[in-house]
Symmetry: D3
Subunit: 72 residues, 6 copies
């Protein structure tokens, strides 16, 4: 406690970035709740299939997200 779950479309975050997300979200939580809760602060990361995430009903693909990242 706490438990944090991250959901993102597959392939948008590299393995290294996922580790960074886990480490830095943990640091955010611990900086607020206190270092003594670090051992019971969990973060996990789930990938959703490309095209299986709709925004406004439009399916979002890995490529579409990457285009957004590149200012597309």
């Amino acid at each position: 406690m706490p438990f944090v779950q991250v959901q993102a479309i597959e392939g948008v975050f590299t393995e290294e970035q996922k580790r960074e997300v886990i480490a830095r979200i943990t640091d955010v939580m611990v900086s607020i709740e206190g270092e003594s809760l670090r051992g019971v602060t969990w973060v996990n990361f789930i990938e959703i299939d490309s095209g299986c995430w709709g925004i406004g009903g439009q399916p979002l693909t890995t490529e579409a997200v990457k285009a957004m990242q590149n200012g597309g």
Copy 2:
């Protein structure tokens, strides 16, 4: 907001059907909450491994669901 998550056993819905689920659930939400919230109405779709979903303790497989669909 809102965020809708669909969970189903793998292989029961085709890719096209998953897109249809996402689009039509979004339309249901928007028809109730208002078109102005379409852009912040998210739906995603997660597949669970065949046999990793129990009803009454009995593991349900993709084949078993298809048999149910065909009136089995």
Copy 3:
């Protein structure tokens, strides 16, 4: 199977609207997966506290959502 979970900020949907969401999302699923799966098609609705949902880091309140609904 399937299981659908709806998350929305508290107070945006009336009790009646929540029932409508549950009924109509079920109808969407059943129209695609087949009537024979109606009995194993579940939808539940969870409300999140006002201000406990961030978009782009900005906390969204019930009032803010209602303003959006009214074209604010």
Copy 4:
């Protein structure tokens, strides 16, 4: 109702063990809620990628969990 979701790192539980988890968690629920709810007691099992689960910010791998299991 009830719906129980189990999340574990991939490869820690064998297919047989996952079935056993589903069956025995269902039995626990039914022994408390009553046999009449067995048919509406669902349990599913989701696997998280190795390294995509942090405890205290440290990413946990399948191998690390197995080492823990073996007293490592």
Copy 5:
């Protein structure tokens, strides 16, 4: 790891029963994964508002579940 989440309609389980569910699900997991993982075996329990859980599109209330429990 593992993390188990139980969802049930409000008021169906007493506080004592919820504790029993948490303890006994933990025991099931530990008996399969090994006692060494007990400290990292988490179970939490979430209650869903009465009427906010649909089975086949029909909203299930606390009273309806209790009637089912009593063979109604």
Copy 6:
């Protein structure tokens, strides 16, 4: 996308701290995925009833967590 959900025992985080968690987790995600995805980076925060979260089968209460925070 991405969607981040934080679960914590009720009363451990103040309203202000919950806002801070939402803002700072968003900043972590955006610093990795890119500022262009800020508008589609969501974080929400769910509170679990005191005593409804077990670690190793032991129910954790709000008071117990506060004691841990104070080095108890």
